[in-house]
Symmetry: C2
Subunit: 105 residues, 2 copies
């Protein structure tokens, strides 16, 4: 049985956004993602083959969608993004790390 704590073992060096694989099975992937001020490239969109259910557990972030919707996420906020819905992360907190839990399914 694998155990851990979603808030602990946050690397000091967050010069790059960090994605950690917590679970990988045939049909689902669970990741912890840690950002600090990171955002997606200005041009282009994430266009994913899987659905993504993601929750911000610490920090804050904004996600923009191709249809111009912007969703601001604070602690505890989650969003279910269907496959091939084009989106990008337009901001994450620069003050504290943002810890995401993402389930790709």
């Amino acid at each position: 049985m694998e155990t851990g704590n979603i808030y602990k073992q946050v690397p000091d060096n967050l010069s790059e956004e960090i994605s950690e694989l917590l679970v990988q099975s045939k049909n689902v992937k669970i990741e912890r993602i840690i950002s600090r001020g990171h955002k997606s490239p200005d041009s282009g969109w994430y266009d994913q083959d899987q659905n993504e259910w993601v929750v911000v557990l610490k920090g804050s972030a904004s996600i923009s969608f191709e249809n111009e919707t912007v969703v601001d996420l604070k602690e505890g906020d989650y969003i279910d993004i269907s496959a091939h819905i084009k989106h990008k992360v337009t901001s994450t907190s620069a003050i504290t790390e943002t810890i995401w839990l993402a389930i790709f399914y």
Copy 2:
């Protein structure tokens, strides 16, 4: 796009443990479970066909396993329970609600 907050809209009445379905797809189910002092029946075990990755986001809990291992979970602690590993919840905080996020996969 469905959105919500994992910490909000906690019912006042927690006389029964509450399970809320957040995502149901062919291969994965995501639930928010809210306990307050609830535990599994003293006799018998959960014996699930799916793996369960579960994190305690608020409160605390203890899970016991058939092999007599006991795992105490505090805020942020997660555990990955493989299918058919027999287990039960032997306690949850009576002081505050315990909010679990469970992914069955």
